[in-house]
Amino acid sequence: MAIDRNKIIEQMSKVSAEANPDGLISAFNVLINSFPAEFWNMFTHKMVDAVSEDIVDAVEELFVNAAHECGYHTGYGIITSKEWDAIVKPMVENTEDILHGAYAVFTAWGWGKAEIVELTPGEKMIVRAEDYYESDIKDSYPGNKSKRMMAYMIRGVSGAFMDLAYGGDYDPTGEAGMYTFECKQTKGIETGDPYGEFVVSKRDDS
């Protein structure tokens, strides 16, 4: 593997998101927002805690889907950007390098220190994450521990990254190519584990 993860993190973390005079941040073919992480965690916490136990799984899936679409479209915008071309592309030799590079960018953006620990091309990927902002949700629960694993953003984005790598050509409408993979969280800092672990595999109906 030719990917220099530390170099990508060091350089991509300096990419700045500045608003135009209309207060919009356009980058990577999407509009960007730059909110306190607490905003996302607080909304997630309140929504999950507000619904009854019988529908909480459905609400969680909606959060994962939001991240999946975000990861699919913004992920494609990133791997086709001039920043990617300048910093990451010279290191890329194959599809798997793109995935490793994407997680370096994921880390540089401040979503969490996420890295692929196992990859079977086209089939399965296991990602380990430390210091991911979603794990901070634990601090809003008694004993600084949540009862549920709540890294919905990492789950969605990880599924989307596998879609981009192995799900066929990118489809701007999202009708084809997206949701060919799904991600389950198997460990979480927010529930007391030392790191988060995410297993991505082909969706049964894909």
Binding site: I9, E10, S13, K14, S16, A17, A19, D22, G23, L24, I25, F28, V30, L31, I32, N33, S34, F35, P36, A37, E38, F39, W40, M42, F43, K46, M47, A50, V51, S52, I55, V59, L62, F63, N65, A66, A67, E69, C70, H73, T74, T107, A108, W109, G110, W111, G112, K113, D131, Y133, D136, M153
Partner: protein
């Protein structure tokens, strides 16, 4: 005083901070889908109220913290900085049409949520600026030294329903 944004990156934890507050970038797909989730959940939970109040709570802390740290007491200066902050976080542009302690009207000619929603899905049958409305409620409270939840903000005209700009009414 122009808005000062002190941006830093913790190289050990790989986290970004703006004015010492943990900050993350997300896209309009994420923000619009969170909003859609809140709207669609209306039969089981007050999703839009939760979204609005979450925005109000978080951005009140952002604005109040900024005013306190920089010892900014002038109301007009606070208002100008809050408008700058709205744009700096990528939410768009807000222009108070009338502004005093009892409330007023705020125009939002450009909005991250409106532009994102229109780009993603086109028009909608109801307003979608719950995050922006929460921000405006926070702005009023922070500018006038009131506690959070003092003001109520309602979007009266909406770009996603066909208006040329969003107009939000603020009341006590």
């Amino acid at each position: 005083m122009k808005l000062q944004l002190d941006k830093s990156f913790d190289t050990e934890k790989c986290r970004h901070y703006v004015n010492n507050r943990l900050t993350v970038l997300h896209c309009h797909h994420y923000a619009t889908l969170f909003t859609q989730l809140a709207i669609d959940a209306k039969d089981i939970v007050e999703g839009t109220k939760i979204l609005y109040e979450t925005s109000e709570t978080v951005f009140f802390e952002v604005l109040k913290g900024y005013f306190d740290k920089n010892n900014i007491t002038d109301k007009a200066e606070r208002l100008g900085l809050a408008q700058e902050m709205f744009s700096a976080v990528g939410l768009g542009k807000i222009e108070p049409d009338s502004f005093d302690e009892s409330g007023g009207l705020v125009e939002m000619p450009v909005s991250h949520l409106d532009e994102g929603w229109l780009k993603k899905w086109g028009k909608h049958n109801s307003p979608v600026n719950y995050i922006g409305a929460g921000y405006i409620a926070a702005m009023y409270s922070a500018v006038f030294d009131k506690p959070v939840r003092t003001y109520t903000v309602e979007e009266q005209e909406s770009k996603v329903t066909g208006a040329k700009k969003a107009v939000l009414k603020v009341s006590l």
